[in-house]
C-alpha cells in the first residue's frame, strides 16, 4: 500500500488551505460552546462573546497552524496505483501517477516531483520511453528549483516544518531520487536507440553520484564540527537540549522497539549506487568508440566489482580491459538486467506521550515518525540459459543508508514540533477545557509523519551475461519460463526483466544493439 498522503493534504500546493478549514471548524464549534454558556448566564451579547472568544481563538489559530496538514489515510488513487504496479498493470499505474504529478505537456512542468518520478519510472516499464523522459525532464526542472531555494526560503521552510508537520512541506527529492532519475532517462534513450543522449544521461547520473558523495562528506564534517563546538559551550541551548533527549539511550531504545534503525544500513563505499555505475559501464562497453571508452567501462566495473564481489561483474571487467587492448568482441553476447521485487518504503508509527499523567490539563500529545518497511523480493535470482543472475545493487541498502543519515534531523523536528503543539494545547485548555479537549483530539488526529518515498524502484538489481547460440534465449524466473526472441542482425543484446512479485508474470524488454 502506498503510504503517501499527498492527494488529500498536499498533492500540489493546495495544502495551505487545509489548516484554514480546520480552523473554521473549530471556530464554529468553540463559538457554539461560548454562546451556550453565555445564554445560560443570561447575557447573550455579541460584544461580550467576541471578547471572551478572543484569547481561545488566537490560541486555536496558533494550534491549528501548528498542527498543519490533516490528511491521514492513503487515498483511493494511492491504493489503485500500488495495486496496479503490484499486478504489473503499468499502463493504469502510469495514468494515475501522471495525473497526480500535474504534468503539463505544453509548459513541460510538473507540480509534484514525487508523483512525477513515479510516473517517469512507470512509463519506462510501460514502454513509453519518450513520455517518460519528458516527465523526468520536467521533474529535474523542479528538482533544480528545490536545490536553488534561497536561504530565506530555506529558513521559512525550516520554520514551517517546526509549526506544521514534515508532510506539510513540498517534497524534497532524496539524492538517490536524482541519481535514479538520470539512470531511468539513460535507459529510456537506450531503449529508443538514442545512444548519444543516453551517454549524456549516464554522465549526469555519475555527476549526481559525485555530488552525493561530497554532500555526505560535508554533512559528516559539519556534524563533527558541531560536536567539537558543543564541548566548550556551557550556555543553555534548547536545540542542544532536544538533541540530548534524542541521543539518550532511553529514547533510542524506545525507537528501536518500534523498528527504527540507526546504523543497520551501511552505505556503499563512496555513496555509490552500483546499478547506475554498472549501467554506465555497460553502455560504454557496448557503445564505446575508443580505447578510452573501454577503459572508462573497466573503471566502472572495477568499482562495482569492489562493492559486490560479483563474478559476473568481474567477467565484464575482464572483457572491458580486453576490448581496450583491441582484443575480444561483444558479438552475440546477451546481458540480462533483473529488477527484483519492490524497494523499501516508509510507514508511520506513533508514540503516544500521555502527558496527562503529569498534568491533568493535557488530554493528549503524541509523536508520529516514519520508519522503513521492507517489501518482498520476487525471486532470489533468475536464470538465463542456465546462468544465474548476481546482485549488483541493493536499493534497500541505498534507501536505508540515506534515510538513517537524515533520521536525527527528522526526530529533532518532530520532538520540537510536538513540544510547541503541546504547550499551545495546554494554554487553550487553561482558557477553555472543552476547547482544550477538542484541540487535543484534533492534535491526535493530525499528528502524522512524512512517509513520502519513491516507491516504483525494485528491491535489487542483478545481472548475468551469456553468449547466444540461436535467435532466442530462455529466461527462467521462478515458475515462469520465458523464451526471449532476439534480433540476430544486432551484434549484442540487453534483456531487462522486471518482476515485482513471485506470482506476477515478469515484464521482459529487449534492446538489440
Amino acid at each position: 500500500m502506498k503510504t503517501r498522503r499527498l492527494p488529500i493534504m498536499c498533492s500540489t500546493r493546495c495544502h495551505a488551505a487545509i489548516p484554514h478549514l480546520i480552523f473554521l471548524s473549530f471556530y464554529l464549534m468553540n463559538g457554539l460552546f461560548k454562546l451556550a454558556s453565555l445564554e445560560e448566564e443570561g447575557t447573550p451579547s455579541l460584544m461580550s462573546w467576541k471578547m471572551t472568544m478572543k484569547k481561545p481563538l488566537l490560541l486555536l489559530a496558533t494550534t491549528v497552524t501548528l498542527t498543519g496538514c490533516a490528511g491521514i489515510m492513503p487515498t483511493k488513487s494511492d491504493q489503485q496505483f500500488s495495486s496496479a504496479v503490484h499486478s504489473g498493470d503499468y499502463t493504469t499505474a502510469a495514468q494515475f501517477a501522471l495525473e497526480e504529478s500535474g504534468y503539463d505537456p505544453e509548459t513541460q512542468t510538473v507540480s509534484d516531483i514525487l508523483w512525477a518520478i513515479e510516473a517517469g519510472a512507470i512509463l519506462n516499464y510501460a514502454g513509453d520511453y519518450e513520455l517518460s523522459n519528458q516527465v523526468f525532464d520536467a521533474s529535474e526542472k523542479s528538482m533544480k528549483e528545490v536545490d536553488q531555494e534561497s536561504t530565506v526560503s530555506n529558513l521559512l521552510q525550516t520554520g514551517l516544518s517546526m509549526v506544521g508537520n514534515d508532510a506539510f512541506l513540498d517534497y524534497e527529492q532524496t539524492l538517490y531520487d536524482g541519481v535514479m532519475t538520470n539512470t531511468y532517462k539513460a535507459w529510456n534513450f537506450m531503449h529508443a536507440g538514442d545512444y548519444n543522449n543516453a551517454r549524456v544521461e549516464w554522465n549526469r547520473a555519475e555527476e549526481r553520484q559525485r555530488r552525493a558523495a561530497e554532500f555526505f562528506a560535508e554533512q559528516i564534517k559539519q556534524q563533527e564540527e558541531a560536536l567539537e563546538g558543543e564541548q566548550g559551550d556551557n550556555k543553555f541551548d534548547p536545540a542542544e537540549f532536544v538533541a540530548k533527549t534524542l541521543d539518550s539511550a532511553e529514547t533510542r531504545k524506545m525507537l528501536e522497539a518500534q523498528g527504527v534503525t540507526f546504523d543497520q544500513w551501511k552505505p556503499y563505499e563512496g555513496y555509490v549506487n552500483p546499478y547506475t555505475t554498472y549501467s554506465y559501464g555497460l553502455n560504454l562497453l557496448l557503445n564505446g568508440k575508443s580505447a578510452s571508452d573501454y577503459n572508462k567501462a573497466a573503471d566502472a566495473f572495477k568499482r562495482v566489482y569492489g562493492l559486490t564481489n560479483s563474478k559476473q561483474v568481474k567477467a565484464d571487467l575482464d572483457l572491458a580491459k580486453s576490448l581496450a587492448k583491441g582484443r575480444s568482441s561483444t558479438d552475440n553476447m546477451v546481458w540480462v538486467i533483473f529488477e527484483n521485487g519492490e524497494s523499501m518504503v516508509k510507514e508511520e508509527f506513533r508514540l503516544d506521550l500521555p502527558l496527562f499523567l503529569f498534568t491533568e490539563d493535557v488530554a493528549y500529545t503524541g509523536i508520529a515518525l516514519p520508519r522503513l518497511k521492507a517489501r518482498e523480493q520476487a525471486f532470489p535470482s533468475i536464470q538465463v540459459e542456465g546462468v544465474k543472475t548476481e546482485v549488483i545493487a541493493d536499493m534497500d541498502k541505498i534507501i536505508g543508508a540515506e534515510f538513517e543519515k537524515n533520521y536525527n534531523s527528522i526526530l529533532t523536528r518532530e520532538i520540537t514540533r510536538t513540544l510547541l503543539k503541546t504547550v499551545a494545547q495546554k494554554q487553550i485548555n487553561d482558557s477553555n477545557p472543552l476547547a482544550g479537549f477538542a484541540t487535543g483530539m484534533l492534535q491526535s488526529a493530525v499528528t502524522s509523519a512524512d512517509t513520502r518515498t519513491f516507491t516504483s524502484l525494485p528491491k535489487q538489481y542483478q545481472t548475468a551475461h551469456v553468449k547466444r547460440k540461436g535467435d532466442t534465449v530462455k529466461v527462467k524466473a521462478g515458475n515462469f519460463e520465458i523464451p526471449v526472441a532476439l534480433d540476430t542482425s544486432a551484434t549484442s543484446h540487453i534483456i531487462h526483466v522486471k518482476a515485482v512479485s513471485p506470482t506476477t508474470e515478469p515484464l521482459v524488454r529487449v534492446i538489440n544493439l
Partner: protein, 200 residues
C-alpha cells in the same frame, strides 16, 4: 497598523504578479553577458574558430599541387558532456572556415553526410530520368583526411562549494593514407556555477 497592511498588500501583489523578462536580442558571441553553465554559441564559436585557423595555417596540410586541395571527411565528434548538445555546432563552424579558406574541400558523400549522393545513383534504372544526366560510377572522390574528436565535461566542487566546470574540445586530423595524425587541437572552456544544483 495601516502601514503594515499596506506593506502586506504590496508584498501579496508582488508575489501574485511576479517578474517577467521582456524578450530581447542578445549578442550570441558575447562571453561577458547572458552566460550559462552549459555550452552556448559563444563557446562553440570561440573553440571552432581558433582550431580552424590552426588547421588552415598548418604547413603540413598545404597541398603539393599549388591549385590542389585536400578532401576532408568530418567523422564522429562524440558528445561526452552532461549537456544535450549537437556536436555539429562545433563541426559546422570548422567546415565553413575550412571550405572558405580555399585550401580544403569537405566531402558529404559518406556516413553522416548527404544521402542523396548515393540515392541519386539509383536513378540509373529509372525510365523517367534522362540517363545521360545520372551521375555515374567512379566520380565520387575519396577523402584524404578525417576530422574526429570529442567534447568532454569535468565538474569539480571548489572550497566555497561553487562548481568549477571545464569543457574540453578535442579534435584530431588523421591522414587516411597512413593513419598518422597531422594535427591535434584542444581548447578548454572553464566556467564557475552555483554549486547548489546541477550544471544542466
Amino acid at each position: 497598523m495601516l502601514k503594515l497592511k499596506t506593506l502586506a498588500a504590496t508584498l501579496l501583489a508582488l508575489s501574485i504578479t511576479g517578474c517577467t523578462t521582456p524578450t530581447a536580442y542578445i549578442n550570441a558571441e558575447s562571453k561577458t553577458e547572458n552566460i550559462v553553465a552549459g555550452l552556448s554559441y559563444a563557446d562553440f564559436k570561440g573553440a571552432a574558430d581558433s582550431m580552424a585557423d590552426e588547421i588552415i595555417a598548418n604547413k603540413m596540410l598545404d597541398h603539393p599541387d599549388e591549385r590542389g586541395r585536400y578532401i576532408m571527411f568530418v567523422s564522429d565528434i562524440t558528445n561526452d558532456t552532461m549537456q544535450r548538445i549537437d556536436t555539429d555546432q562545433l563541426a559546422k563552424t570548422i567546415r565553413v572556415k575550412l571550405t572558405n579558406s580555399g585550401k580544403f574541400l569537405i566531402t558529404n558523400a559518406f556516413t553522416g553526410g548527404d544521402k542523396a549522393v548515393a540515392e541519386m545513383r539509383q536513378l540509373k534504372d529509372s525510365e523517367m530520368v534522362k540517363q545521360s544526366s545520372v551521375k555515374g560510377a567512379g566520380q565520387v572522390y575519396a577523402p584524404d583526411f578525417s576530422l574526429s574528436g570529442k567534447i568532454m565535461q569535468r565538474n569539480n566542487t571548489m572550497d566555497n562549494n561553487d562548481t568549477r566546470i571545464e569543457y574540453y574540445f578535442q579534435l584530431s586530423l588523421t591522414n587516411l593514407e597512413n593513419g598518422l595524425s597531422y594535427w591535434e587541437g584542444e581548447r578548454v572552456v572553464g566556467k564557475v556555477a552555483d554549486g547548489d544544483t546541477v550544471s544542466w
